[in-house]
């Protein structure tokens, strides 16, 4: 396996100038406990045995690497889809929650909190809490509880308490604030399962390591299918950046592999309704991390917009801020409309209905510059069931 030293955080959690842990003292003991223990626990054979077993028997890994022939013909290149949509609960998010629930057990925690945007991370957290018999509270922006209704019902069915958040823009950023406040109020018994590669160190690294299974499998599967481990392109959408971090992880130190991160441009970069942090963001601090974030000139965090609840976040993980700044990854932003068209296209060409988040990555395929000889791996981060209402509304508008 490739070493990834250039893209690992230093001891203080920095990727270049991005990262760190900017947290109030009330959170310090929690975060410090996690920082001191996470690498030891992750490396522990007992943890690894449980984690691998759950990934196989509960999540359904390895997920297939599927050669999408009709999509390939459409874009004139060779496209493989990494089928994270086939994970139990319908998205990559569960790779992280399975790992973190095992970690929480080993830290002696009995109560789990999480934030969620699209609801996929909330569902994935509620699922592992049910599996382990742990109390589960999920914070979700009120706007998101409305546009991702089915996921709210799924969480409740799984026994989680969903707390709608009414502060700020009532989306993912505010749900994250509320989860952090809960953690401040419950410092001893609670573990916060954060849903992406964001937040204070060690979360970005912890979540990236738990999602790294995606690229570990891609390398093996490509070798089997095409006789080489390295693709020419890896494409993934970026909200906070966890599915992209997992898909990129074992390629970070392979310069021949071009990494493409796709953000949501919402109604357009210049429209004032966008979530394209790499273009619109400046360095600053959000949720305990120094990274790129969308803010006004006074340093107030601005409200992002994307039709897709999972990409509607005003920051990106510090690893991605560094990948962008160092030129290791290329960022592309995709508006709502082309993303919706990509949903219809993949559905008809390959019989797969993708999540709206994932559709942003699909819509970038004609911009990446891949040719007929190239191998492109696109991380199909989730399935579209949760977005059916949105898709139907769009289809009606088209008629």
């Amino acid at each position: 396996m490739a070493t990834t030293s250039a893209f690992q955080p230093n001891a203080r959690g920095y990727y270049g100038e991005f990262g760190g842990a900017f947290i109030p003292e009330m959170l310090y003991p929690n975060v410090e406990e996690l920082r001191e223990q996470y690498l030891t626990i992750l490396a522990d054979p007992d943890f690894q045995r449980d984690y691998q077993q759950l990934l196989r028997d509960f999540v359904g890994r390895p997920t297939p690497l599927f050669e999408a022939k009709r999509l390939s013909a459409r874009y004139g290149t060779r496209i493989f889809l990494k089928r994270e949509d086939l994970c139990h609960t319908g998205a990559h998010k569960v790779n992280n929650t399975v790992g973190q629930i095992l970690l929480a057990q080993r830290l002696g925690k009995t109560r789990i909190i999480a934030e969620t945007g699209a609801g996929q991370h909330g569902v994935a957290t509620a699922t592992v809490c049910a599996l382990m018999g742990m109390e589960c509270i999920v914070y979700m922006g009120k706007t998101d509880t409305e546009r991702q209704r089915p996921n709210v019902e799924r969480m409740r069915l799984l026994g989680a308490e969903v707390r709608p958040v009414t502060s700020g823009s009532q989306t993912l950023k505010d749900a994250t604030n509320e989860a952090i406040r809960d953690w401040i109020s419950n410092p001893v018994d609670t573990h916060y399962i954060i849903g992406s590669v964001v937040g204070p160190h060690p979360y970005p690294d912890l979540v990236a390591r738990l999602q790294a299974i995606i690229s570990e499998e891609i390398r093996k599967q490509l070798l089997e299918k095409v006789g080489r481990e390295l693709p020419d392109y890896v494409v993934a959408c970026v909200g906070g950046g966890s599915n992209a971090a997992g898909a990129f992880y074992h390629f970070l130190d392979e310069p021949s592999v071009k990494l493409i991160a796709v953000e949501a441009a919402g109604k357009g970069i210049k429209s004032g309704h966008s979530a394209a942090t790499s273009v619109l963001g400046k360095p600053g601090i959000i949720h305990g991390s120094r990274t790129l974030l969308m803010q006004d000139e006074d340093g107030q965090i601005t409200e992002p917009y994307s039709l897709s609840a999972g990409l509607d976040y005003p920051g990106i993980g510090p690893l991605h801020a560094f990948l962008g700044a160092s030129g290791r990854a290329r960022f592309i932003s995709i508006e709502d409309e082309p993303a919706l068209r990509a949903v219809a296209e993949l559905s008809r060409l390959e019989g797969i209905i993708p999540a709206l988040e994932t559709a942003h990555a699909l819509a970038a395929l004609d911009q990446i510059g891949a040719g007929p000889e190239d191998i492109v791996v696109l991380n199909l981060s989730g399935r579209g069931d949760k977005d059916l209402d949105t898709y139907l509304k769009y289809a009606e508008q088209m008629h």
């Binding site: 203080r12 109030p24 310090y28 003991p29 700020g168 410092p187 001893v188 006074d298």
Partner: protein, 259 residues
């Protein structure tokens, strides 16, 4: 000796520190509130710099921050409002409290220079890590004679408390229990007492003020039995909510705590 140390030396005990959000309830309330608080008997005043995402704060301070931002408050406006404050409030220690991001965007050097010019004595930035303070901010703070104030919680280790105590000449902000500002304390009195007494027994260089969840005469008096004084924030903001005359409401509130 700085104004903060002078205030503690002069009074010794039962110091009342009042927090309010600049630009709340109206944009121009900042200066009249400082003047009224000082005249009514507040021993220190914390001026909150509103932030869109105040992680350490409960709903009351969050809402006052949102309202202040909507009123047009920002760093430039605040420093303009404060430029002559020392002409009318010469002695009461003034502290700026807020989050790191607005300060970073304003520029730390610029922020400290303007704060010092206005006659501010101390800075509270709950999300500024100690190491970052030492490596990047301490020199600037010192040059402008600004004192940092750090928070201590029931979970803060003894070694860390000692380190914090070495890093300032102002006071230590004892967070009364787990929770954000304005929260109800869920711990038993015994647990809290043991925590306050443990800190008191450490013989630290700096005096201590207890904050979070202090809101009236009784809770203030109780806090003062364990420390040199206490900090009131959310309860004061609540007293300003919907008040026709904010300074009058402020005066009545301080009076209800002290008398």
């Amino acid at each position: 000796m700085n104004r903060i140390q002078q205030a503690f030396q002069k009074k010794g005990k039962d110091l009342l520190n009042i927090y309010f959000t600049a630009g709340y309830p109206t944009l121009d309330a900042t200066v009249p509130l400082i003047q009224t608080l000082a005249a009514a008997g507040a021993d220190l005043i914390e001026i909150g710099m509103p932030f869109s995402d105040p992680l350490a704060d409960g709903p009351v301070i969050q809402q006052s921050s949102t309202a202040a931002l909507a009123n047009g408050m920002n760093m430039r406006v605040l420093f303009r409002q404060l430029q002559d404050i020392r002409q009318t409030v010469p002695d009461t220690p003034l502290l700026l409290m807020g989050y790191l991001n607005p300060v970073m965007q304003f520029g730390v050097e610029n922020f400290c220079r303007q704060a010092a010019e206005a006659g501010v004595d101390g800075i509270i930035l709950p999300d500024l890590p100690l190491d970052d303070y030492v490596n990047e901010y301490q020199e600037i703070f010192r040059r402008h004679n600004l004192k940092p104030v750090f928070l201590i919680t029931p979970q803060t280790s003894e070694a860390r408390i000692r380190r914090i105590d070495e890093l300032t000449d102002s006071f230590l902000y004892l967070v009364s229990g787990p929770g954000t500002t304005g929260g109800q304390n869920t711990q038993s009195e015994g647990v809290q007492e043991a925590y306050f007494e443990r800190i008191a027994a450490m013989n630290l260089r700096n005096p201590r003020l207890i904050g979070f969840g202090i809101g009236d005469k009784a809770s203030f008096a109780r806090a003062c039995s364990y420390a040199e004084g206490a900090i009131i924030g959310s309860a004061f903001i609540r007293a300003l909510e919907g008040a026709e005359d904010a300074p009058a409401a402020a005066k009545a509130f301080v009076s209800s705590v002290l008398h």
